[in-house]
Amino acid sequence: MSEKRLLLGDEAVALGALHAGLSGVYAYPGTPSTEITEYIQQSPFARERGVRSRWCTNEKTAMEAALGMSYAGKRALVCMKHVGMNVCADAFVNAAVTGVKGGLVVLAADDPSMHSSQNEQDSRFYGKFALVPILEPSDQQEAYDMMADAFALSEQLHLPVLMRLVTRLAHSRAAVQTGEPLAQNALDPDNERTHWVLLPGNARRQYASLVGKQPEIAACAEQSKYNSLRIPKTSDVGVIAAGIAYNYVRESAPAGLPILKVSQYPFPIRQVRELAAHCGRILVVEDGQPFLEEQVRAVFGEEYPVAGRQSGELPRMGELTPDCVAAALGVEGGSAFANAHNLAPRPPQLCQGCGHRDVYTALNQVAAEYPDARIFGDIGCYTLGALPPFRAIDSCVDMGASITMAKGAADAGVYPAIAVIGDSTFTHSGMTGLLDAVNDHSDITVIISDNLTTAMTGGQDSAGTHKFEAICLALGVEREHLHVVVPLPANMPEITRILREEINYHGVSVIIPQRECMQTLGRKLRQKKQETK
């Protein structure tokens, strides 16, 4: 079954996991990680093997369910974008304390340069924080190969393994040589209750065991085939290249440059010392934050020069490029042509015909009548309502923050305080905040703009579709202050009237504008047309 396939980094991870005997993938969509789960959902091989792959409500439910599958002895994969690590951090960090039974790989796809994100946090810090091994592939082939090794390492150490991708690897295609699929693990639930019941007495023992494993984890990284040191000759400068940075270094590296490639952490101290012994200084090239650079500098202290993103040889922010890496290596290059003159930015925008457009049209119309109105936005396509022509929202921070920030602002005296949240974001992290608001009888108006899908990431199933009224009622929203409307220009008078009435009501109200996403609707119509042909 070995063959060559053209795969995205994400797809290489997915296929690698399937071939490693995966039994379940658990994920919430998030760019640039979404295509991993989508690949598994569409894979006939996964269907044949009964691999569980439906979308989860959020990253925490995903992480916990995967831990449950691991507890039962089977191999499980959790996928998310970097900020998803914040959502599942409680489960992730404690999974290192309980340990695992079946292999458990947690995949975080970081987004340096924030192509589709609100920060560029580096997930490697989470791995170090939780004291677990970290893998960081440099290319698509490694992404595929690493999965089987990651699951094996997880089972060998009885620990979750964190695998980190960056956008450029997740969304770049190359040929991948596949191998023979491994069998799935049999059902074999763990019987060691003292490992899993983290009462303080057990937790202390488990934590001591986790700390005790650190030398073995470090030894695994020192012997890892994914870390390699090449010193063709002694040199003024030696490079440590982490993950995808290895490709940028090789793109422009002068002949004979000593390079330590790091793709498994904790970083291999022995190799770092050996590199330093042959070079006058070290340049650390890594995508994301200066994670490795700080640690390498700490090894040598003041007496040995270590350069990187923190010291300024490379830009402190944004993703690496072959150009900034070449410049740091002192290699000349650059443009033959300057920037064009006739150029304007072209930001993304809400699709023509999108229901969110009608929601913002109505909201802007009504909000204009209340000069003190504040509108708290959330994460999704509708965040684009911040841009012209709408300029409709005052904040967008993290999944679910619209409702809770509106509540806090209302508590402080802001009126009207309006929250705009999408359907998928609401079930991800909005429901608990709404319960807080109901219990506090907060004076907020919540708009759940429901397009029946997780649209921003390409139209994945949304966990709460057709359940929003029931959820809101169950959380205690009063029937007479819960409205479902259809966001269409023709319904503008009705929508603005309801908005006005509910802003004037001093308690929690929820308005659910409900109309299918134009993209998923179009896709369904095209599919139908195809089938009837």
Binding site: T31, G333, Q349
Partner: protein, 193 residues
């Protein structure tokens, strides 16, 4: 021997289909390939681009360094100009000349085309008009691929035709033929200009 291509356009114009066809042809020809795509937020009416690198030898970086792109292939003239700093000194620009105006501050069309025409190697055509004229409105991107074909050096016309047939096969024979015709139209345009 390598060829580095910047593909660009506006979300929804079909640049990824061009990339898929070139990728299929390159894979079948046994070439090395890396192709970095843009997914997610940038798709919605915003600028999109893809870095495509083909080579007879191994490829390191997924991204094309500044000043090294042999080709800019663009579905939109301003989006072609956006990546000018990546174009090699003797590189070529193959682009649609029809502006897609979905922003209020779109530059003056005449000035934009004049800047484009001042570049050393440019092939441009109103591919949407060509597509409409020949009743193949959905295949504008394959017209553009046809226009680029003579510059793709590592791949010949037959290899590209074969790739089009394989990529669109699941959509039926009519779609395959429409795309092959569009490709031919672009190819002849480039050869006869």
């Amino acid at each position: 021997m390598k060829i580095d291509i910047k593909l660009s356009g506006v979300g929804g114009q079909g640049i990824l289909s061009i990339a898929t066809v070139i990728g299929e042809a390159a894979t079948a020809a046994g070439l090395h390939l890396k192709q970095a795509e843009v997914h997610g937020m940038s798709q919605r009416g915003g600028d999109v681009q893809s870095d495509m690198r083909l080579s007879t030898d191994g490829i390191c970086s997924d991204l094309i360094p500044l000043g090294q792109a042999d080709l800019i292939i663009s579905m939109e003239p301003m989006e072609a100009l956006r990546y000018l700093p990546y174009l090699a000194k003797d590189g070529a620009v193959i682009t649609s000349s029809k502006p897609l105006v979905n922003i209020p501050n779109y530059p003056d069309e005449a000035a934009l085309l004049a800047e484009l025409d001042a570049l050393p190697h440019v092939v441009r055509a109103d591919i949407e008009a060509l597509a409409r004229e020949h009743a193949m409105p959905k295949s504008a991107n394959m017209i553009l691929l046809g226009m680029a074909a003579p510059s793709l050096k590592l791949l010949d016309e037959e290899q590209l035709r074969g790739a089009i047939a394989r990529v669109f096969a699941r959509k039926g024979e009519a779609v395959v033929n429409a795309n092959l015709e569009a490709f031919q139209l672009g190819l002849e345009y480039a050869k006869n200009r």
